[in-house]
């Protein structure tokens, strides 16, 4: 089973993503912020990160930046999910090494499709 780390400070969003992904057959782990996500990424191997931008302690950009600087962590795809719809926000995410950018709110089937594509699960 593919393992996804959902990083978001909003419990509602985490729950929403978890429900959608679980139903689609993914194993889901959660982190409340970038820092916690980084800690989890050290301990566990994830096939995909779904990351919010605005978070306390360590925001999404910094998380991806740090992740992409870590030699010892598997460099799995990162999907940034953000409320910011401007191009510059997306560019900022790509500059630190995120692989995809979705504007919130994410539609369930959209999320599932991208999660599958990025983890190699047959569509």
């Amino acid at each position: 089973m593919k393992k996804v780390l959902v990083v978001d400070d909003a419990a509602t969003v985490r729950m929403y993503h978890r429900k959608i992904l679980n139903d689609a057959g993914f194993q889901v782990d959660e982190a409340l912020n970038g820092l916690e996500a980084l800690e989890k990424a050290f301990k566990d191997e994830y096939d995909l990160y779904i990351v919010d931008i605005n978070m306390p302690k360590l925001d999404g950009y910094s998380f991806v930046d740090k992740l992409r600087n870590m030699e010892s962590i598997k460099q799995s795809p990162v999907i940034v999910v953000s409320t910011e719809s401007e191009e510059k926000d997306k560019e900022k995410a790509y500059e630190v090494g995120a692989n995809f950018y979705i504007v919130k709110p994410v539609k369930p089937d959209e999320l599932v499709k991208y999660a599958k594509i990025f983890t190699g699960v047959p569509l």
Binding site: T12, P56, N99, F100, P108, D109, I117, V121
Partner: protein, 871 residues
């Protein structure tokens, strides 16, 4: 409400809103960047969350608030108590919406409107501030701002209808806002007079600018009243009317559509589809009389409080102005269908979208490669562009993530050919190979999508609509936990326990009313009330029990390690198998299980499971299996420890028990094998001669039994030679109410647990026989041992008979073993909360505990097992 995500949203939003309130108030004292940042983040999160659901007004308001906070953060707007007020008010509205979401599933129409209005107000502040930046003019009073956006809903519908009619009659209604100076009375101005004398007034109102906090200190000479009126008089006339106080007057020239706002409950009422269809036809033919008739008929069928009724009233008002009013009527008809506010600016577009929706019904050519996949490819190209000049580390890592993404994307297509091509062509160290692969892939897409574009586009429109429906689910996947002191839950438990007992007194009273005062009707009413309270308290109890339920996994999870370590030490190969770890039981029960379980598993490892060579010799798999199993059966949780080891030899058990003096020689020959197995639970029994490192620590199976029985549970064992042993513990799911049978003996009340009573009978003196010096009674061909309860619990009184010279007798069935007990009288059943004895009284094993009865008296609950074996 069933949707756990929505519930989560409500919970979380409330936390956030509370924090926002705290921060806003703190900010008034001290301007802190950190606080502003936190504020921004919270509102941002709230906005994001609300977007998951279809609460667009809430999202709009939060979005506006977020932008306002952003301006505060950037210091393009400075923090003032006025801004704080607006933000606080906005959060109040959001908070109300959350309440409404909880109560009705969605925010109410009026609240949505307030939210929209507030969002607009904030937008105005933001845009004005931008202008101010350039023109360097400052200061805005709240009145100026609110005036630009008028709350049309303060005008009652009947007046709005009049105003709209005036529009159609060629007039131009104007809203007059009059804000008299506080000192106006000293200037000889009479605001009320001014307002009353406004010519051609359709509607007017007055309201207070501020709340009167304390009537005692209120200054009646200060004018804090505002006035509003709608008039069809022209502006010149009005200016003349107010010429001395024009500085206090504001004129708003509204648009007609601002007034046409149907309002009301969106649920209920008859079906309008046919009406709308017919009406559209009639509208084309402009047959006004028929339209009016059909409208009137429908109006009569519709409750006036409904949204639809309001739409109908509006249509009725507009009907006289056909054809001028036709587009408005059409918009209202659409509102009846959609239950959304009328969209007047989109009247022309609606027809178009209808056409599009019909198109969707056509079969759509399915694409072999979904558009999302191409987007992923495209985006990877963008990422590549972005990072190609970055530091070595981030560059290399991101490239490998891109390659992984592309490879996975191809895998998701299940296209082996393409995957091989990818692996062949793409080299991690060569950026160009990645780029050219992506380009080639995307080129193919262009061709395919061009063909399919026209077909797919309307479809995306529709799916978007569908996806807005809240994602529903039955089971929560994550839970927000509330940490509560266990004491608090215990207190709740005790209170509900008392309630359960107290409610019994109602039943007791109702009996008393009937018996002693002979008022049967009152007694009946009391019984009805009792059943209501009974139901509520049962539900409450259930709910509280639920709070204390935890999964057995919390105990089970320590066993894999334990089994692994111990089996290694013993040189045995053991596999642990766990089943039903999700089964839930009361926290106390689960905790009580831990020690017996450890003991049982150790026993299995130590005594049950053979060494590998012994297993091979027996033709069994080398690796033994120990199974920990939990399941729920009715109101009990069943925990089993099963091994496939050597089993227990009943003969050995019997002899051992005899040697230890636990059974008599007579019993030794009589006892059946399965009965013999259960001898291991007797105190002072241990089959292994030498104490082993593991289980021989002085705790035998009797400890397991004691522990389990303390929680009103049972334990049993079954075993087959060389096939294995299964120990089964059955515990109550919770420390819930016990159902008991109340009896009387020697003038005192006692109780038997109802689940051990198989029946109650009356027996006569002549039914009692003496067999081998023991009393027996023959019951439907079955001979049962018979006892007097008074003898068993040492009450110095003879048993009483009833008027027919019969003894009241309780037949007890302890897992197939039956006996009869004579009591003085049977009093009926009751629900009690059993409280086990504490301290030195706990050595009184013949009683399992006490309970308080409805009339306040104390009840001793008999433990039937001890009743017979104990004495």
């Amino acid at each position: 409400m069933k949707n756990p995500i929505l519930e989560q949203f409500i919970l979380e939003s409330r936390d956030y809103l509370q924090r926002v309130g705290e921060i806003l108030i703190k900010l008034e004292e001290e301007q802190s960047k950190d606080l502003l940042n936190e504020l921004f983040r919270i509102v941002h999160t709230l906005k994001g969350n609300s977007g998951l659901f279809n609460f667009s007004a809430m999202t709009k308001l939060l979005h506006a608030s977020e932008d306002l906070m952003n301006s505060l953060r950037d210091e393009t707007i400075s923090y003032s108590s006025h801004i704080a007020d607006i933000l606080l008010e906005s959060m109040d509205i959001v908070s109300q919406m959350i309440d409404e979401v909880e109560a009705y599933g969605e925010p109410q129409l009026s609240t949505n409107e307030r939210a929209q209005e507030k969002a607009l107000l904030i937008r105005e502040i933001l845009s004005e501030k931008k202008q101010i930046e350039t023109s360097e003019v400052l200061k805005l009073t709240s009145e100026e701002k609110t005036s630009k956006h008028y709350d049309y809903l303060v005008i009652p519908e009947e007046f709005r209808i009049k105003i709209v009619k005036a529009f159609f009659e060629g007039k131009n209604p104007i809203i007059v806002k009059y804000m008299p100076e506080e000192e106006c009375f000293y200037k000889g101005e009479d605001p009320l007079f001014y307002v009353r004398k406004i010519p051609e007034t359709i509607w007017s109102r007055f309201y207070l600018r501020e709340k009167i906090e304390d009537i005692a200190t209120f200054d009646i000479y200060r004018c804090i009243t505002n006035f509003e009126a709608v008039t069809t008089a022209d502006e010149e006339t009005l200016k003349e009317h107010f010429k001395y106080i024009l500085d206090q007057i504001e004129f708003i020239k509204p648009e007609i559509v601002s007034f046409i706002v149907p309002h009301g409950d969106k649920n209920g009422g008859p079906v309008y589809e046919d009406f709308v269809l017919d009406f559209r036809e009639l509208l084309k033919s402009e047959s006004i009389d028929i339209l009016k008739n059909s409208l009137r008929a429908l109006k009569e069928l519709t409750s006036p409080t409904l949204f639809v009724a309001s739409c109908l009233r509006w249509i009725e008002a507009l009907i006289d102005y056909i054809p001028k009013s036709t587009p408005y009527i059409e918009a209202l008809l659409r509102s009846i269908e959609t239950l959304e506010p009328p969209m007047f600016d989109k009247i022309m577009e609606t027809k178009k979208s209808e056409v599009e929706e019909i198109k969707v019904e056509k079969p759509i050519k399915t694409l072999e490669i979904p558009a999302e996949l191409f987007r992923v490819f495209e985006e990877q190209r963008k990422v590549l562009e972005k990072i190609k000049d970055k530091d070595e580390n981030i560059r290399r890592n991101t490239i490998s993530s891109i390659i992984l993404s592309l490879e996975n994307a191809i895998k998701s297509l299940k296209n082996e050919e393409l995957l091989e091509k990818f692996k062949r062509e793409v080299k991690e160290e060569n950026l160009e190979t990645i780029l050219s692969f992506i380009d080639e892939f995307i080129k193919e897409e262009k061709i395919i999508t061009e063909e399919a574009k026209q077909l797919t586009e309307p479809q995306t429109v529709k799916t978007q609509k569908e996806e807005r429906i809240i994602y529903k689910s039955e089971e929560p996947t994550t839970t927000k936990f509330l940490k509560v002191d266990e004491e608090k839950v215990n207190r709740l438990m005790n209170l509900i326990g008392e309630l359960v007992v107290a409610k019994n007194s109602l039943l007791y009273l109702s009996k008393k009313v009937e018996r002693e005062y002979g008022i049967a009707s009152l007694s009946k009413e009391m019984k009805i009330q009792y059943s209501v309270i009974n139901r509520i308290s049962e539900d409450m109890q259930d709910a509280i029990m639920q709070v204390r339920m935890i999964p057995v996994a919390t105990v089970f999870q320590r066993f894999p390690r334990l089994v692994r370590d111990l089996s290694k030490k013993l040189g045995k190969n053991v596999k642990l198998h766990i089943e039903g770890e999700d089964t839930e039981a009361d926290k106390n029960v689960i905790e009580a299980l831990t020690d017996p379980l450890i003991h049982l598993v150790r026993n299995s490892l130590d005594h049950g499971v053979e060494l590998p060579e012994e297993r091979i010799a027996k033709g069994k798999p080398e690796t033994a299996t120990i199974t920990l199993r939990a399941k729920q059966e009715a109101d009990r949780v069943i925990i089993q420890v099963e091994d496939d080891g050597r089993g227990i030899n009943p003969e050995k058990i019997k002899i051992k028990a005899y040697e230890k003096g636990l059974i008599t020689e007579e019993a030794l020959s009589k006892i059946k094998d399965d009965e013999a197995l259960n001898l291991i639970f007797l105190p002072g029994f241990s089959t292994k001669e030498e104490t082993s490192e593991l289980s021989g620590r002085g705790v035998g199976m009797d400890v397991v039994r004691t522990m389990v029985e303390r929680f009103n549970g049972t334990v049993s064992v079954s075993s087959e030679k060389d096939r294995g042993t299964t120990v089964t513990m059955a515990l109550p799911l919770s420390m819930a109410v016990s159902h008991v049978m109340l009896i009387e003996a020697a003038g005192r009340k006692y109780a038997f647990p109802l689940d051990v009573i198989s029946e109650t009978v009356r027996i006569r003196e002549e039914d009692i026989h003496i067999f081998k010096g023991e009393m027996v009674v023959s019951l439907r061909g079955k001979v049962l041992p018979l006892f007097f309860l008074n003898d068993l619990i040492d009450l110095k009184a003879p048993a009483l008979k009833n008027e027919n010279n019969e003894y009241a007798t309780v037949v007890i069935n302890l897992k197939g073993e039956m006996f009869a007990v004579i009591v003085d009288s049977l009093l009926g059943t009751a629900d009690i909360i059993l409280k086990p004895f504490k301290g030195f009284l706990s050595s009184l094993r013949v009683f399992s505990g006490t309970a308080i009865l409805g009339d306040g008296s104390i009840l001793l609950v008999i433990n039937p097992k001890e009743l017979i074996y104990g004495s």
